[in-house]
């Protein structure tokens, strides 16, 4: 039994220290376990290679226990030394930090006093110690690797610790993995997992309807709708990890306070930004642009990460109200001119992205209604990137995928993430810089009481919502579909409304259960054989009977 999965994105590297593309890390999760994992049903931290962990009182020393009985796919036991080797490789070798370096920057030392124990010492308390998304590699294979940068990790079969073992990879065509029969959680319920490349998602959807592949994700709403009543295909509408947003240039400045870019100065006024946010009909965008396959936007963390997600309360909520927005703009000192407009803004988006092309029409209409005509500029990917990094935009479409831990997405909006004096460096999203927000960020980073940290994270999102350097428009659903006549069920993460592909884990592939097709077709075959046999028997019996009759008739003569 083979599970065939359609993928569109290329693989950048099979070397887990270098792989950054989503497609590559997805395959990486199948090949290598991490120190800890995220449970399938509710994404809480659960057993990975380590089954116990203990921070010291000062939160600076963490002790992980790697239990006995877990083995690499070549039969060698997995020990604490493998873990220490992997982390130390990243600490000592800059190239090995390419993909996941951010997790270890705060480490001061990693040691393995015995086969079962890993001790990690950090320079400062770190809340993400149980969310170290680093594939652990086998020391007995990787100690022979001298040049990480050029190591393609293609000694098939690739020794790993995950539920599948990489056996073949032809770039741009397919990736083949075999089930790891010795996997410590138990072997997968089928034999092979193939990833098949497609040029675009239209082609992948066609292949699914023809039964050439069993699983497709990242579908457009129209594609998803087209599979509605297809026999043998089951659709999975999941809560996604992505959101789309509309950036509002709040008067961009560099880290040193120099103005940068050419945003409209009116947007520096928070009252104007609030009025713009109030004039956007988020429900209409979700209904008409996302075709209902999204949830209305609010805070920076999507609802799929339940406890971190923030919804505005009654007092904070900005409901769609053009009249109030008009009044607010009048009050803020931007009256309508003779031609009915106040000031015009540029709206920058990406040409060829369905969302941008459609949503820009709505924004143009809705902001036109409050006297702000939009000059819609749909440009190429590069031009959009350039406009947002050097702040030559007024309004612009953007979007992010978020992680289980909200640290990354929240960190994007701190003052320190703005570019330096030369306009380079930093990965700021919206040129947001707010004292209150930054203080909350620093506090949540060293808050080990989860309840308190959740509270801080929500306060940050409320602050962001109030200051509107960007309007979160919608949390897009992840649209997937699979051949339910080939595979009966997949494990989703989280259990309710979760995704099959692009999880924080490998549960979707690992938990796939083949449909009872073989036995079902077997019974029908047996049925046909029995029925055929009975018919043959009856025919033969009748023929013999008639012949005997004839014979007896002849003899009778």
């Amino acid at each position: 039994m083979i599970l065939k999965v359609a993928i569109v994105q290329q693989i950048d590297s099979m070397n887990p220290f270098l792989a950054v593309f989503q497609s590559s890390t997805e395959v990486g999760r199948l090949m290598y376990d991490y120190l800890t994992a995220y449970a399938a049903d509710d994404q809480r931290v659960t057993e990975g290679l380590a089954n116990r962990w203990e921070p010291s009182a000062d939160k600076l020393t963490w002790t992980f226990t790697v239990p006995e009985g877990k083995t690499w796919s070549d039969g060698q036991p997995i020990t604490a030394h493998d873990v220490a080797f992997t982390y130390n490789l990243m600490l000592t070798n800059e190239v090995a930090r390419t993909a996941n370096g951010s997790f270890v920057t705060n480490f001061s030392s990693v040691t393995a006093p015995d086969d079962r124990t890993v001790v990690i010492k950090t320079k400062a308390p770190q809340v993400t110690m149980l969310a170290l998304d680093i594939p652990i590699v086998p020391e007995h294979v990787w100690e022979k690797v001298t040049n990480i940068k050029d190591y393609a990790n293609d000694q098939m079969p690739v020794v790993g610790s995950g539920p599948f073992v990489l056996t073949e990879h032809v770039a741009g065509q397919f990736i083949k993995l075999k089930a790891n029969k010795n996997y410590w959680r138990g072997a997968p319920k089928y034999d092979e997992l193939h990833f098949v490349y497609f040029q675009n998602s239209d082609a992948a959807v066609q292949a699914l309807t023809k039964g050439e592949v069993d699983l497709v994700n990242r579908m457009a709403p129209a594609q998803f709708d087209s599979l509605k009543d297809k026999a043998g295909v089951t659709r999975n509408k999941a809560q996604g990890r992505r959101f789309v947003e509309l950036l509002i240039n709040p008067g961009a400045r560099t880290r040193t306070g120099e103005p940068i870019g050419d945003g409209n100065p009116a947007l520096g006024d928070v009252r104007v930004r609030r009025a713009i946010a109030q004039a956007i009909d988020l429900d209409a965008l979700v209904q008409r642009v996302n075709l209902g396959y999204a949830e209305k936007g609010a805070g920076l963390v999507p609802p799929v990460f339940g406890k971190w997600h923030w919804e505005p309360g009654e007092k904070e909520l900005r409901t769609f109200d053009p009249a109030a927005a008009n009044a607010a703009l009048d009050a803020a000192g931007y009256p309508r001119k003779a031609d009915g407009t106040r000031f015009s803004l540029r709206l920058t988006g990406r040409a060829g992205r369905a969302y941008d092309e459609q949503a820009s029409e709505y924004l143009k209409r809705q902001l036109g209604d409050i006297g702000i005509p939009l000059d819609v500029r749909l440009v190429s990917d590069n031009q959009l990137n350039e406009a947002t990094t050097v702040a030559t935009y007024d309004l612009a479409f953007s979007g992010w995928a978020t992680n289980v831990d909200p640290d990354f997405i929240l960190g994007l909006h701190t003052c320190a993430q703005r570019p330096g004096a030369d306009g380079k460096g930093g990965t700021t999203d919206a040129y947001f810089c707010d004292q209150a927000y930054d203080e909350l960020y620093a506090r949540q980073l060293s808050e080990f009481d989860e309840g308190k940290r959740v509270e801080l994270v929500k306060q940050m999102q409320a602050r962001f919502y109030d200051q509107v350097p960007a309007v979160v428009l919608a949390y897009e659903n992840a649209l997937e579909a699979y051949r339910s006549d080939h595979f009966a069920r997949f494990t989703t993460q989280p259990a309710q409304g979760g995704v099959i592909m692009a999880q924080n884990g490998m549960w979707g592939y690992y938990g796939a259960e083949p449909a009872a097709r073989a036995s079902a077709s077997g019974t029908t075959w047996v049925g046909f054989a029995v029925a055929g046999g009975v018919i043959v028997f009856i025919v033969v019996a009748i023929m013999r009977q008639t012949r005997r009759r004839r014979a007896t008739a002849g003899e009778r003569e």
């Binding site: 239209d202 129209a222 709505y362 819609v376 190429s380």
Partner: protein, 272 residues
């Protein structure tokens, strides 16, 4: 000869209808019917009594979109062709008339644009320049003038070799006189034919650029319709009514321009 004229007349008739549609459509169709935020019809309706050509992904009538798109496609086609033929004629006459260093320089530039793949250059131009109708016109115009330039230059050379031009020169006619009174009138018929054919290629070029998503996103054109059909999943929806009409419209109008162009060519040629 007469057959050519008949097909030429047919082409002209089609063009007249297309032009009429292009002029009338914006006057008759209310803006609300083409505004995605204001339409109320269901998306992806197949052709029926209410919507002759069905509806698109937002519920707009495809028939109205095709009618509205005629204007943009014809406008871009015509202006780009005029631009291309204008540049081509200027370069052709100047290089043919003056010869020498000027001709050498101009011809090298012509050669440069001739060997450069026009579509790639047009894509590059429309990526770098700000989005808009003007950019598309410029991109097409700047990439499709070399063939006209070559043809006009050849014609200029043959005209200037004739005795009457030599006589005009001997009688003291300057550059302006020779070009204005003798060369240009003999070149004009050829230029006209060329312009008609150039419109056809310009419309195809506009549709190509718009289909690739490089057109003016705020304007409806036939190429832009094909782009949206492809982008919003008309193929998996099996929505042939969103793909075929703009495609057929492009084919018909381009064919009409070609027919008219060929007929004009047949009329113009025997006189020389």
């Amino acid at each position: 000869m007469s057959r050519f004229n008949r097909s030429g007349v047919a082409g002209a008739a089609i063009l007249a209808v297309a032009a009429l549609v292009a002029v009338i459509a914006p006057l008759v169709i209310s803006a609300d019917e083409l505004d995605v935020t204001r339409v109320t019809a269901a998306p992806w309706q197949s052709p029926g009594a209410e919507f002759w050509l069905g509806t698109d992904h937002t519920g707009r009538s495809v028939a109205l979109l095709v009618a509205q798109g005629a204007g943009t496609s014809l406008f871009v086609g015509l202006t780009a062709a005029v631009l291309a033929v204008g540049i081509g004629t200027l370069v052709g006459i100047v290089s043919g008339h003056f010869g020498g260093l000027v001709a050498g320089a101009l011809l090298r530039v012509t050669d440069f644009f001739l060997v450069l793949p026009a579509l790639v250059l047009a894509i590059a131009l429309s990526t770098v320049l700000p989005r808009g109708l003007g950019t598309i016109v410029l991109a097409i115009g700047l990439t499709s003038w070399p063939s006209t330039a070559r043809m006009v230059r050849a014609q200029t050379l043959t005209i200037e070799a004739r005795p009457f031009v030599e006589r005009a020169r001997a009688l003291g006619g300057g550059h302006v006189h020779v070009i204005g009174r003798h060369v240009l009138p003999s070149v004009v018929p050829l230029v006209l034919v060329n312009a008609t054919l150039a419109v056809a290629t310009a419309i195809v070029a506009e549709s190509t650029l718009a289909f690739l998503g490089l057109g003016d996103p705020t304007r409806i054109s036939w190429g832009a319709m094909l782009h949206q059909a492809q982008l919003h999943g008309a193929v998996p929806q099996r929505a042939w009514w969103f793909l075929l009409p703009p495609g057929v419209a492009i084919v018909v109008v381009v064919l009409a321009f070609t027919l008219v162009g060929r007929a004009l060519e047949a009329v113009v040629t025997p006189k020389r």
